[in-house]
């Protein structure tokens, strides 16, 4: 709705940072409601729900006339001032009873459309005025904040009129509709605690004008009021000093207004009307956004340290559990040296084809595998080494702890870690459902342990495969194969040559008797022994440096994130919360930057920071 002397609404925002502000509001709109289920995030979210509509409104209704709320304690002359500005008695003023104004009065020029004002919710009455002072603004005569009983006061007796006084509640229903606050005070009320409290609650994002009334009766307290306002965190460019009664009388009599009142009207016209309205609205919105991010950051700053402590705690506990797991797996692997050898040797042998030594080894391996079937591998590591499947190793009934304990990670250690982390999480205010219980219930434990066992199985078998392939490369080379074949065959050939010489030369040629079956029996024994010696040599070759390689494998426990599933809820909660905090900090800095870059509104006051 355009003001009468309106700037065309098609004029693009001349301010260079308007797009950046839009982006900031959008980013805040994504960030604030998307916080994790964490108390500070919930506070930020509910704060945002109060701020977001105002920011939207400021963007959508950029060129609407400004709504100026006249606020202040009872008896300070709000209604008198409104009457003076409106040029006639539009609202009841006086000293007959306190409070005088119960229902707010909205004063607007005849041609200003105020259909968008929620008059019903404000319980307000609309009055039209032709006064030039209100030609380009909407003026609201607000109820006072001081006559309603203070919250927490003992319940008033029903007979008291004040028991039904809801002026402050009404004020709090009116102020959200206001863009600018015109704070009216007197020598008696400029240090009122309750007025200060109410104004502080509504001042963020709302530029202010300060007016001392009762100028003809009261001393000039503007210097002291300015000090008081500044101690409450306000920027106070100027304070007007007027006498509302006199101004109203002069207006009624058609006389020239006196200087103070003229200044006020000029300021309203210059700072709040027409094109200035856009700047005021935008500055107010920016201030509000910056205010919101400042409050949010203040709230989050205190929570940052415990969240970081939780993240660090997750790392510490992960490291502790990994060390336990690594030590235990390393011990098991070293203790199962023979299983390793068998594993690797079997693999090597399986690939050696042709040649008597290969055949010899195959026979031994066949006997060995029979033995293996008699003694299946125990434990997850044992089963892996024995080439058996590990999935489904843990019975879900006991939460699958058995399999994890077999791997070498006692449930007690896991519970210790989770209990420690639960303490850190509690300090950071992070609780269910963001993290699980310190003691996993059976279902959760079964999932976590199954994941751990699967990971451990995959990691171990990959590691073992790697070692096997490496060693196969060392032992399984054709040269080595043929060397061993040669060595083994050498004895075989010697025996055969000797037996053949005996038979052909000795027996058939020279007619000596056959040396007998005894020689062959002995020869077989020696061939077997020679074969076993060579097999032992193969194994020794395989075994060379195995301990070091196992150490290397175990050292990779940390990089394989084996225990992550057991602490997943804590680590993801910590990272979700800190990511969210970081994003808030970034947006806050952006808000500060925009607010700092944004031009001042020289004639208007604003709330810069919370009262110290």
């Amino acid at each position: 709705m355009e003001p009468t002397n309106g700037s065309p609404s098609s004029t693009p925002a001349a301010e260079p940072d308007f797009a950046a502000f839009d982006l900031l509001v959008d980013a805040l709109g994504r960030w604030a409601p998307a916080g994790p289920a964490w108390p500070p995030a919930r506070r930020v979210k509910s704060e945002w729900e109060g701020v977001a509509p105002r920011l939207d409104k400021a963007r959508l209704e950029l060129s609407r006339v400004l709504v100026v709320g006249v606020v202040g304690g009872t008896g300070t002359g709000k209604s008198t001032l409104v009457n003076a500005l409106a040029g006639s008695e539009v609202t009841t003023a006086g000293d007959v009873a306190r409070p005088t104004t119960i229902n707010p009065v909205v004063v607007a020029a005849r041609d200003v459309d105020v259909s968008w004002l929620p008059l019903d919710a404000m319980q307000a009455r609309l009055v039209r005025s032709d006064s030039p002072a209100v030609a380009n603004i909407v003026l609201v005569d607000c109820p006072d904040p001081d006559t309603q009983a203070v919250v927490g006061a003992p319940p008033a007796e029903a007979s008291k009129p004040s028991a039904t006084n809801r002026n402050r509640d009404l004020l709090e229903a009116v102020l959200p509709a206001c863009d600018v606050l015109l704070l009216v005070s007197t020598a008696q009320k400029y240090r009122s605690w309750i007025v200060a409290r109410e104004v502080a609650a509504f001042a963020p994002g709302r530029p202010l004008l300060f007016v001392q009334t009762h100028a003809s009766r009261d001393p000039d307290i503007r210097a002291d009021w300015r000090k008081e306002l500044e101690s409450q965190g306000f920027d106070v460019p100027r304070i007007f000093r007027i006498d509302g009664v006199e101004a109203a009388a002069r207006a009624a009599a058609g006389l020239e207004p006196e200087a103070g009142f003229r200044d006020l009207v000029a300021a309203i016209d210059g700072e709040l009307a027409g094109r200035a309205a856009r700047r005021v609205r935008r500055t107010g919105a920016l201030d509000l956004a910056a205010w919101f991010t400042r409050q949010a950051r203040g709230d989050l700053a205190a929570s940052g340290e415990p969240v970081a402590a939780l993240a660090a705690g997750v790392e510490t506990e992960r490291g502790r559990l990994e060390a336990i797991l690594a030590r235990s797996i390393g011990e098991t692997l070293r203790a199962n040296r023979s299983a390793w050898q068998r594993l690797i040797a079997d693999d090597v042998v399986a690939r050696w084809q042709g040649g008597p030594f290969a055949s010899f080894l195959h026979v031994i391996a066949a006997l060995g595998s029979f033995w293996n079937r008699v003694r299946p591998g125990t434990g997850v590591v044992g089963r892996l080494l024995a080439g058996q499947s590990v999935s489904g190793a843990g019975a879900p009934r006991d939460g699958g702890w058995k399999a994890v304990e077999e791997l070498g990670l006692p449930a007690g250690e896991v519970e210790q870690s989770r209990s420690v982390l639960a303490g850190l999480a509690a300090r950071a205010g992070i609780q269910e459902p963001l993290v699980g219980r310190a003691r996993l219930d059976d279902a959760a434990a079964a999932t976590a342990t199954a994941a751990l066992v699967d990971r451990a199985g995959a990691w171990l078998s990959a590691g073992i495969d790697r070692l096997v392939v490496e060693r196969r490369g060392r032992v399984g080379r054709p040269a080595i194969h043929w060397l061993f074949e040669g060595l083994f065959s050498a004895l075989l050939v010697t025996v055969l040559v000797r037996a053949g010489w005996n038979f052909f030369h000795g027996n058939l040629w020279e007619g000596k008797p056959v040396s007998g079956i005894g020689f062959l029996e002995e020869a077989i024994v020696w061939v077997i022994l020679w074969g076993l010696l060579l097999r032992w040599l193969v194994f020794a070759l395989v075994r060379l440096g195995l301990d070091r390689d196992i150490q290397g494998l175990v050292g990779s426990v940390a990089s394989s994130r084996l225990v992550d599933p057991l602490l997943a809820d804590f680590s993801s909660a910590a990272s979700a919360v800190s990511t969210w905090i970081d994003e808030g900090t970034r947006l806050g800095a952006e808000g500060d930057r925009l607010a700092a870059a944004c031009g001042e509104t020289p004639g208007l006051g604003r709330l810069r920071r919370s009262a110290t």
């Binding site: 306190r98 006061a153 020598a187 240090r191 002291d224």
Partner: protein
């Protein structure tokens, strides 16, 4: 009520004594109430009446305290200066400048009266200049000056007070302290402020405490607003319950105020009796005794108020203690952890028994049992060689590791239950929550590990315990030693199950060897059925079984004690004793006594 409230002389002394004793009882209950989480009573009306009025004034010369009170910048200091006839408190055009009460006394009063007692909460300092009242560097002082003119009535004290509605909340508090001590209040109102909530609350409390209130409407646009005053006063009276003893009007006169002058015009049409007396004269000629008695009776009425008085506070203590008893029951129910310790290496207990038996055995026994031993050792040697057995040292190591893990699991379970209890009971959350949330939990486990490390498998305590138990058994059953042998030869190992509980009175008896246990952290050991040799032991005698169970239970209890110690010393600290104390505080004798005294005091006061 005023005349009936006049206590006769002997009963006045009794009353004064009861008030003093009541204050003592409340003093003793105050830390209890704070610990129980009962809301701080120091701002309650009854507290102000009891400590600000009754206690200081029952034993002192009955001075009449008149205080000038009102909102910021309404002219309190100016009116006080006019009342006392000279400028003792600086009057400024700026608001909320008077930070400290200023008292004007008759000559000689300061020497006779302990002002620190009369005005609790303040440090009395002698007046130097009118600037004392606005000295921002001082805090909680009460400035006093004896009237240099000597005209002030001997028993009258007139005070200027800080404001009751400004942004400095300390000022409100100081004004309330002065109000509590006063008998007469000069309520300074203006047309802007007479119906402000803060102003109403302040004077409503004065009216409820039976104080005599004189109303001054200041800064009146005289005479234009003269006829308005009746309406303002009516609103004020309805809202606050104040029945003004007299009403004055101070016409607005900026120049006079600048010069430190103010005229107070009596309004006989609004004053009961209709007499037209200047304010200073009215104060000087008032019936001091009647006003004083009325104020004391009013204060007593506030203290004895059944809904918002002292009784309510005592009830709150009762309720809070009952809440703590609930919390204690919750802990008793939830704070109970079952520890399944691993079966101990059998030789740990048996070796001790053997040592005891050695001198008591016949040659045949020695041969037989020696045979068993040899065979047993041979078998275990073979098992070790085959890789399916473990050495004794390895078994002990295994046991220690499994045991530590079981203890850690129990500790984790316990902490989890405590966390849970704290979430479910807000009181527990307040008391134990910070400890649970901020403590370094790693240190708890480290502590448990340290204690476990330091505990020998068999302690001297336990040896003594075994010997005492066996001696007792042998003395009671002389023929049974042989049966013991049978049982021991077969060997039975029990699997101990231990229960640690907070506040549990019914835990199983703990063997003496377990040492001195803390009375709130109780634990009991029960034993599961023997794993081996049960038949033999049962066959030998029913009498041995309890003995064997006790021997094992005693050993396990000693193991479990380290968990109990960690829980008590490191995790809970004195939190659990504190809960016990709080739960018991509902039955403190001071509570009963305070109730009796309250009844006595209000009866004696009429």
């Amino acid at each position: 009520m005023v005349s009936s409230g006049q206590p006769a002389a002997p009963s006045f002394a009794a009353w004064a004594g009861s008030v003093a004793e009541l204050c003592d009882a409340v003093d003793r209950l105050t830390p209890v109430a704070a610990a129980l989480g009962v809301a701080d009573a120091s701002t309650a009306a009854w507290h102000g009446a009891l400590y600000g009025k009754l206690r200081p004034q029952v034993s002192q010369e009955p001075l009449l305290v008149a205080a000038v009170c009102g909102g910021t910048n309404t002219g309190k200091s100016l009116i006080t200066n006019t009342l006392v006839g000279s400028s003792i408190s600086r009057s400024t055009p700026e608001a909320a400048r008077t930070l400290h009460p200023v008292a004007s006394l008759a000559r000689g009063v300061a020497a006779r009266t302990d002002l620190a007692v009369l005005f609790p909460g303040f440090r009395p300092v002698a007046w130097r200049s009118e600037a004392d009242a606005v000295d921002a560097a001082a805090s909680d002082v009460l400035v006093w000056r004896e009237d240099p003119g000597g005209e002030q009535p001997e028993r009258l004290v007139v005070l200027d007070t800080p404001d009751i509605d400004g942004t400095l909340r300390e000022n409100w508090h100081r004004a309330e302290l002065v109000r509590n001590a006063s008998d007469v209040i000069v309520a300074v109102l203006t047309q802007q402020k007479y119906n402000d909530a803060a102003v109403r609350d302040f004077f409503a409390a004065a009216a409820a405490a039976g104080k005599t209130v004189i109303v001054v409407f200041n800064m009146v646009d005289w005479p234009r607003q003269r006829e308005r005053i009746a309406g303002w006063l009516a609103t004020f009276a309805t809202e606050t319950g104040v029945a003004a003893a007299a009403v004055y009007a101070g016409p607005h006169d900026f120049d006079a105020a600048e010069a430190g002058r103010i005229t107070l015009i009596p309004l006989p049409e609004l004053t009961p009796g209709g007499v037209e007396v200047p304010l200073a004269e009215r104060l000087a000629t008032a019936d001091f005794d009647r006003i004083k008695r009325q104020a004391m009776a009013g204060a007593m009425r506030v203290v004895a108020d059944p809904a918002q008085g002292l009784a309510d506070w005592l009830d709150a203590i009762d309720r809070a203690a009952a809440g703590w008893r609930d919390a204690q029951r919750l802990l008793e129910r939830e704070g109970r952890v079952q520890v399944e310790l691993p079966a101990p290496p059998r030789e740990i207990v048996w070796d001790e028994v053997w040592t005891w038996l050695e001198p008591r055995r016949s040659a045949v026994d020695l041969v037989v049992s020696g045979g068993y031993r040899t065979v047993g050792q041979g078998m275990s040697w073979a098992a070790r060689r085959l890789g399916i057995g473990r050495t004794a040292a390895e078994r002990k190591e295994d046991f220690a590791a499994t045991e530590l893990e079981a203890l850690k699991r129990a500790l984790a379970d316990f902490i989890d239950r405590l966390d849970d209890a704290c979430r479910r009971d807000e009181r527990l959350g307040r008391l134990l929550g910070p400890r649970l949330a901020t403590a370094d939990r790693q240190a708890w486990y480290a502590d448990l590990e340290r204690r476990h490390e330091a505990l020998p498998l068999v302690s001297d305590d336990y040896r003594t315990f075994v010997r005492t138990e066996l001696d007792r058994f042998a003395a009671a059953n002389p023929g049974m030693v042989k049966a013991v042998l049978t049982g021991l030869t077969v060997g039975s190992v029990v699997r101990p199950v231990m229960t640690l509980a907070l506040f549990s009175a019914g835990a199983a008896a703990v063997p003496a060897a377990a040492g001195v246990l803390h009375h709130v952290l109780d634990f009991g050991v029960t034993v599961a059925a023997p794993l081996a040799g049960e038949g033999a032991v049962a066959a030998a005698s029913q009498g041995i079984r309890p003995l064997i169970e006790r021997l094992f239970a005693g050993w396990s209890a000693e193991r479990g004690r380290i968990l109990a110690e960690t829980l008590h010393d490191v995790v809970l600290g004195d939190g659990v004793e504190e809960i016990g104390r709080l739960a018991a505080s509902g039955s403190r004798p001071e509570l009963v006594r305070a109730r009796q005294l309250l009844v006595e005091c209000s009866r004696e006061c009429g």
